[in-house]
């Protein structure tokens, strides 16, 4: 009996150990035809983003989950995580976090309502933070994020995730110097793994 249990356990371990990951979670880099250091604008859920920051590029990193969505009571935050373009050393983390009021989003599938939706960064209830070593709230001069397309993705007729694609740009003050981020684009596949509900916590 012990032998049978042992063989069963080993077989189960082998089977589960060989399970294959879905590539829908990978980042797929398709270069932009004009800015080869930026990912092209796509609507396939390639899990990429990129923006020209002054004359450098802030893009997704293969070391970080490129997007986390954080619900916190009445607000939603989109956390873009990637490379610090001013630091070529290993682990050069940078993040941009866009927070705005939206109490309608309770789970990731509710993001479908963002189809063709624009959020203006100069609205009072919008906060943009940058993490570059320290985290600081940016004094926004202008900018917006445009969710061009939100779509539900089915794989083999089963609902798999939400694809959120769009563009963004912003102008802000940093150490009293005006700076800009232009030509921003993103294309994310979103499922429950990257949706965090911190309401009441």
């Amino acid at each position: 009996m012990k032998n049978i249990l042992f063989i069963f356990t080993i077989s189960l371990l082998i089977v589960t150990g060989c399970s294959k990951e879905s590539e829908l979670n990978d980042s797929i880099y398709i270069p932009d035809s004009d800015y080869s250091n930026l990912p092209a604008y796509t609507e396939w859920g390639y899990n990429t983003f990129g923006v020209i920051w002054e004359r450098k590029y802030f893009t997704y990193s293969t070391d970080e989950i490129p997007l986390k969505i954080i619900k916190n009571d009445s607000t939603i935050s989109l956390l873009f995580q990637g490379y610090n373009p001013y630091d070529y050393s290993y682990g050069n983390y940078m993040a941009l976090k866009f927070t705005f009021i939206d109490s309608e989003i309770n789970e990731y599938t509710d993001l479908l309502s963002y189809n063709d939706h624009i959020i203006n960064f100069i609205d009072e209830d919008v906060k943009v933070e940058m993490t570059l070593g320290d985290t600081e709230e940016l004094q926004i001069l202008d900018g917006e994020i445009h969710f061009k397309r939100a779509q539900k993705l089915f794989v083999d007729d089963e609902e798999e995730q939400i694809i959120l694609s769009g563009t963004f740009s912003l102008k802000f003050l940093q150490n009293s110097v005006p700076e800009s981020m232009t030509n921003g684009r993103f294309d994310f596949g979103i499922n429950d793994d990257i949706f965090y509900d911190l309401s009441g916590k």
Binding site: K20, I30, W44, Q151, D156
Partner: protein, 266 residues
């Protein structure tokens, strides 16, 4: 490597025989027999590239440091052929011109064999996208098998001839006309097989005309007025119609063939 070694040995052996023939043969050259008829069968393998299909998710492509593109899609195109040829030999048996009719198959496929536990053996095809819904299907393999009737034209030059062996080089062209194509899609999830017609309908049929031109060389065994057997390498063939296949793109081909010829006018 093994093929190269065999070819070098064949060349060396043929050269030796030829040298012997030059030094020992004092008989006059046998008159040119002229016309031969033969059958030929061979295989060509192609250098195959990914064709841009906007409905295939680029899940199979990775960039390392953004500078190198590696496609994990397994692309293949392979041709088998058989032909009946008439050959006319001239210039004291040094120049052979042949033409005929051929039947060939072109087997082209896109598949995913990652060989890795961390990446699956399928790729995604977008079948339907409407409003705010997109439908992907996981495909293990797409395979197109096309049948062609063709006209092969070859010019062979044999600088080294002996009584029993001839070493020769050739330039040639193949003009092929498509008869039909069988398409097949293998789904990762067999329950999705009912979508095969829709997935295959995303791809155009291969073009009706397909052409190759290239050069090669080989060894012919047999006396001049007797049946000959010929072993030939297609060293490099250029695909003149790189877009002819709808599934993949090609640029060059390599291959080999064997043929058997008999003289018609002894």
């Amino acid at each position: 490597m093994r093929k190269n070694t065999i070819l070098i040995l064949m060349l060396f052996f043929g050269t030796c025989i030829s040298a012997q023939s030059i030094s020992t043969d004092h008989e006059p050259e046998i008159s040119v027999p002229g016309l031969y008829i033969g059958i030929e069968s061979g295989i060509k393998t192609f250098n195959t590239f990914e064709k841009e299909h906007e409905f295939i998710r680029e899940s199979a492509s990775y960039y390392y440091g953004y500078s190198y593109r590696y496609s994990a899609l397994s692309l293949m195109s392979l041709s088998y052929y058989a032909s009946i040829n008439a050959e006319y030999r001239m210039l004291d048996n040094h120049l052979w011109v042949s033409g005929g009719i051929s039947y060939s198959t072109m087997n082209a496929s896109i598949a995913k064999y990652s060989g890795s536990d961390s990446h699956p053996d399928y790729f995604y095809v977008l079948l339907n996208q409407q409003d705010n819904e997109s439908y992907y299907y996981r495909i293990s393999e797409l395979r197109f098998l096309s049948h062609y009737i063709g006209i092969p034209l070859d010019f062979n030059f044999a600088p080294i001839t002996s009584k029993y062996f001839q070493l020769y080089g050739k330039i040639g062209m193949d003009l092929n006309f498509r008869v039909n194509t069988n398409k097949r899609a293998t789904f990762y999830n067999e329950e999705m097989n009912s979508y095969e017609p829709e997935v295959l309908a995303l791809f155009e049929d291969p073009q009706n005309f397909y052409a190759l031109a290239g050069f090669g060389g080989g060894l012919q065994i047999g006396q001049k007025n007797k049946p000959n057997i010929r072993f030939e390498m297609d060293l490099l063939s250029f695909v003149l119609t790189p877009d002819a296949l709808s599934l993949v793109e090609q640029n060059v081909a390599f291959g080999g063939n064997i043929s058997f010829l008999i003289p018609l006018n002894k």
